[in-house]
């Protein structure tokens, strides 16, 4: 395991490399391959991806390994449930905005049941009673409304995205009711909340992404493809892609 000093040195080196790469790539015209992949900023995105991987390897993964070692599976599940329940109102607003009253009803039912019988969302009795969880965000709603995703982007520290999802993340922050609760240490709460969301999400995907990295010819391109396909599937609410949209094979 890396010492904190080593980790900081590696990260700083990565940031210097990123600055040089950004300066060089800013002058270059996008390649035909990058344009075909809807990734006109590919050189810049790849440089940010490398730094994100360093941040992941040096900071996130060691934290996750401790999180997994210290917090038992039941505790991690309770944290996951709690964070999911906290995002219930955001999901509800998006269900309604997407014209999905049935799914909105499910979200409202889940929120009421889990907030009360589930002890503030730590447990998921609603799931056991046949009301499955689902998640919606403003990025998905913009997609349902027919707004184009725009070019692929790699966001520092956050990972794959696109302009539509960046706008969605911003709108989600504005929608989040926990941000409306007046409290003195609000910044600390908001930072802690987002940090726990990141830890929970990364913890859920740790093994899968290790497998993807291990079996990838080009990990960056693999992540780009996975991100796009997963987001498209989320926008369709899990329904299969229309057969006509699939390429001839």
């Amino acid at each position: 395991m890396r010492s904190p000093r080593q980790a900081i040195r590696t990260l700083l080196l990565g940031l210097c490399t990123l600055a040089v790469s950004l300066a060089v790539s800013a002058c270059a015209a996008p390649s035909p391959q990058a344009l075909a992949a809807n990734d006109p900023l590919e050189p810049t995105n790849r440089a940010i991806f490398q730094v994100n991987r360093l941040w992941d390897r040096c900071c996130l993964v060691p934290t996750l390994e401790r999180y997994r070692a210290w917090v038992p599976a039941g505790g991690r599940r309770a944290i996951h449930n709690f964070l999911g329940n906290l995002s219930g109102p955001i999901t509800l607003v998006n269900d309604i905005a997407q014209g999905e009253p049935d799914r909105g009803g499910q979200t409202a039912e889940r929120f009421v049941i889990n907030s009360t019988l589930g002890l503030g969302g730590l447990f998921d009795p609603a799931g056991r009673w046949g009301i499955p969880p689902h998640s919606e965000d403003m990025g998905q709603t913009f997609g349902v409304w027919g707004i184009n995703e725009g070019p692929y982007l790699m966001i520092p520290l956050l990972g794959p995205s696109n302009p539509r999802d960046v706008a969605g993340i911003t709108a989600n922050v504005l929608l989040d009711p926990t941000n409306l609760i007046p409290m003195k240490q609000h910044l600390w709460w908001a930072s802690f909340h987002q940090y726990m969301v990141l830890i929970d999400l990364r913890s859920q995907t740790l093994d899968t992404l290790r497998e993807v990295e291990r079996s990838s010819v080009d990990y960056y391109a693999s992540m780009r493809s996975l991100y796009r396909q997963v987001r498209a599937e989320q926008i369709r609410n899990g329904k299969p892609a229309p057969a006509k949209d699939l390429p001839d094979l």
Binding site: P132, P133, S216, R224, P240
Partner: protein, 216 residues
């Protein structure tokens, strides 16, 4: 009076039922599963059983899974598809070498992907005909150990029946089509390496070897 009025109605209803009889008889046949759905239903569970078989050693498992997979999958069609636009510029010899390298990679990668679902049960939920010989079969992986009310994992299969015998050409796990993802990777790699298919072949061969080794 009431009886005389209802007799013609009864007669009409009986005649109507008789007229519909051939349609009613044809109903079950029309609802019969298509060959692609039957193919997925009959075969995929066998693959999961191989991966879940505790009696087999890792080497035996790999050998049996390879035999099973190559009997079901049209590897050449998938390999050529994943080359994208570079298929047109690659020499026939390079394409053949690529198909051979892809075969080893695909066996290792698919085994790795599906090993994590080996204890689950596959349930076919539907099938769509995309073209006369092109089907999308939808299914769900049911986890018998899940008690938390998690929705089942959706797995879709793309099946072609060009030669009369159904063959698998793509799999989508939770909406991610593997052939599409592989094409995106391979064409990106080739774009970074001046379209050098031999570099991709060498890289795939190394990957297939590494995937065959146990994880650290």
């Amino acid at each position: 009076m009431r009886l005389t009025m209802s007799l013609p109605l009864i007669r009409r209803a009986v005649l109507g039922l008789l007229a519909c009889a051939p349609l009613l008889a044809a109903g079950p046949a029309a609802a019969a599963p298509d060959p692609a759905a039957t193919f997925v239903n009959d075969n995929i569970q066998k693959g999961l059983q191989i991966l879940n078989d505790k009696q087999l050693s890792q080497a035996q498992k790999r050998e049996e899974f390879e035999h099973f997979l190559l009997g079901l999958v049209d590897v050449r069609r998938i390999a050529v598809f994943t080359l994208g636009q570079y298929r047109r510029t690659a020499s026939p010899a390079d394409v053949d070498a690529f198909v051979a390298a892809f075969r080893n990679y695909a066996v290792a990668a698919y085994q790795s992907y599906f090993a994590r679902y080996s204890s689950q049960t596959l349930k076919v939920t539907g099938s769509t005909q995309r073209a006369p010989t092109d089907y999308i079969v939808t299914s769900e992986m049911i986890d018998p150990n899940d008690s938390g009310g998690k929705p089942p994992l959706e797995v879709d299969f793309r099946v072609r029946t060009d030669t009369g015998k159904p063959v698998l050409v793509d799999v989508a796990v939770a909406g991610v089509w593997l052939s599409l993802e592989q094409r995106d990777q391979f064409t990106a790699f080739l774009g970074q390496n001046n379209g050098n298919v031999r570099a991709l072949i060498a890289h795939l061969s190394d990957l297939a070897q590494n995937l065959g080794k146990p994880t650290q």
